[in-house]
Amino acid sequence: MEPVLEIRNLNVDYGLGDRAVQAVRDVSLTLHKGEVLGLAGESGSGKSTLAYGMTRLLAPPGAITGGEVIYHPEQGSPYDVLALSDRALRQFRWAETAIVFQGAMNSLNPVHKISTQLTDVLKAHEPKLSEHSRNARAREMLKLVGISTDRMDAFPHQLSGGMRQRVMIGMALILQPQVVIMDEPTTALDVVMQRQILGQLIDLRERLGFSVIFITHDLSLLVEFSNRIAIMYGGRIVEEAPAATLYRDALHPYSKGLLGSFPALRGPRRELSGIPGSPPDLAGMPTGCSFHPRCPKAFEPCSTAIPVLGRPDIPDGAGRSVACWLHPAEQPVG
């Protein structure tokens, strides 16, 4: 499969100097054309930071301290998003990679109509388009996500939460990007609505052929909807595998823990983490494998040496990677 976005050794810090916390550490991850890549991990594991980092949307004090994000455009040669000039970055944004902050109720500007917010993207990226065709495109996108076009002149507060999310999906697709990132924050909408909207996005992906990075706490959603899953812990990717493989036979004890604690359809989200102990403190990360204080299988090298992410030493280890001393890497990733 052809890659569309390759994250290589990405590091993101919050703050500067000694006080800095490393929220994303040495992450390498590849998104292939047309696939849905799921990213899961407990709250605070750095999922959003990774998403903001690779799109350069980090607000201070967040800063990228190293790495590359190689984008493969449909035509032309690959380039590093992190090295783009401000101008080139503006052109890259939304046209190549769009973000949907799923569940975020405030993604739409409350003082402008839906139509204005759909068309200003077109105005910025395709200035030659006439107003008439801009409006036509905006209406087309609303239809695509199942919203009646007479809502064009509605203001965000006049739409329900689910409709607003669908508007955001429509907006994300208006420039036909190759990559759509969906980030679901801790305070998500209800699970049924989420499933429905996600299902819709996956349908659209099959028709329009973009790739999706889907970020969530909810591994059950990922198992159902994604092709591959990457698990994050303490700012690092600790395991990555095809969805079915990970579901059947997760190698990393943390992934197993996550899988063993599928959340109830309703109820507090905390139950998700059936793993004893609490997520690591980024400021004082444990030495060695950062999961070792909580790991039921921790043994002698775990507290001193960091396991690298790589192809595990098992018979059918191709196409997956893990960072755990139980399965020392044969070929490190990145």
Binding site: A59, R93, W94, L108, V111, H112, D120, A124, H157
Partner: protein
């Protein structure tokens, strides 16, 4: 719309209450304006002229309180606010009519400039926080913390004087007669510069700080991140997304400030002996000129109410969330 009608009803009620209070208070305090006038003229008035004064002031003893109240309303609708004693026999409406333009022009224009300038700088300071623009803040905070009269006195002491370009008091050169001509207008402008400058210096920082803080607050909203993610030009994100939302609280503040143009400028006009409404109010208080005081309070009340209404309208226009359907 229903909300709006409710607001209008509320303002009408408040206006009615203010006028009614204005009617009753002088009638409840011991002594009356005519007594005050009699003592002012020290027995030079005949019984007959005293009687006609009572009629003139609408304090005709033979009428019932209710009848007086009705007449009071009629007078107000005719713009008749009674006679001033300080400027006797000039009617209050005329005295106010002469003072009001000075205040409205000086403070009105200054308030608008201050709001526009302060908001503009606030947008800049908020959007470019962490840059040179942050240096603006301590300076403006310093100036805004100086009490106004002190600032005015310092300004007069430092900048005004016999040889200075800035006159220290008055609204125009005393040798001139008020008229719209090439002598009077420049003189009036020259006299207004120093008071205007001090008002500006003391008020602009409030707008800057308010707008800057709102910009900072709004900048962390999701829709700003989305606007960046959409690759919109920086200007559009800053103005149409951030500033447009950050402006909302400032706009109602501005409308209210317009309401206080009439009432809130006492100090300016006193320090600079500026012939506006505040200065006139000071004179009225000094002379126990009740009709004039009443008239000025009425104007102030109405101005504040109109400003509140304006704030509501502005909010309705600027924030779609306040516009309920139906």
């Amino acid at each position: 719309m229903r909300y709006f009608l409710q607001r209008i009803a509320f303002y009408l009620f408040t206006a009615w209450a203010a006028v009614t209070l204005n009617f009753f208070i002088p009638r409840l305090v011991p002594g009356d304006p005519v007594q005050a006038l009699i003592s002012k003229y020290q027995g030079q008035l005949s019984t007959k002229s005293i009687q006609s004064l009572y009629v003139l002031f609408g304090l005709d003893k033979h009428q019932s309180l209710w009848q007086q109240y009705i007449d009071y309303w009629k007078q107000i609708f005719h713009g008749d606010l009674g006679l001033s004693f300080t400027f006797f026999p000039a009617p209050v409406s005329q005295v106010i009519g002469q003072a009001l333009p000075w205040t409205v022009l000086l403070v009105g224009i200054t308030t608008i400039i201050s709001f526009t300038l302060g908001t503009g700088l606030g947008v800049l300071a908020g959007w470019r926080r962490g840059s040179w623009a942050d240096g603006l803040l301590p300076v403006t905070t310093f100036f805004s913390s100086i009490p106004y009269f002190w600032l005015g006195i310092i300004a007069i002491y430092l900048l005004a004087g016999p040889d200075s370009f800035f006159p220290s008091s008055g609204g125009f050169d005393s040798e001139l007669v008020p008229a719209w001509d090439q002598y009077f207008i420049p003189s009036a402008i020259q006299h207004s510069l120093l008071p205007a400058l001090t008002i500006l210096v003391s008020s602009v920082s409030g707008w800057i700080l308010g707008m800057r803080n709102m910009m900072v607050t709004v900048s962390s909203e999701d829709y700003i991140t989305v606007a960046h993610a959409k690759g919109l030009p920086e200007r559009r994100v800053a103005l149409s997304y951030a500033a447009r939302n950050a402006l909302l609280p400032s706009v109602s503040g501005f409308a209210l400030a317009l309401g206080f143009i009439v009432g809130g400028t006492l100090l300016v006009e006193i320090v600079f002996s500026y012939p506006g409404l505040g200065f006139t109010l000071l004179q009225a208080v000094g002379a126990k000129d009740y009709p004039l005081m009443q008239g000025i309070f009425l104007i102030i009340t109405i101005a504040v109410l109109v400003a509140n209404l304006l704030a509501d309208v502005a909010y309705l226009l600027l924030d779609p969330r306040t516009r309920k359907e139906g």
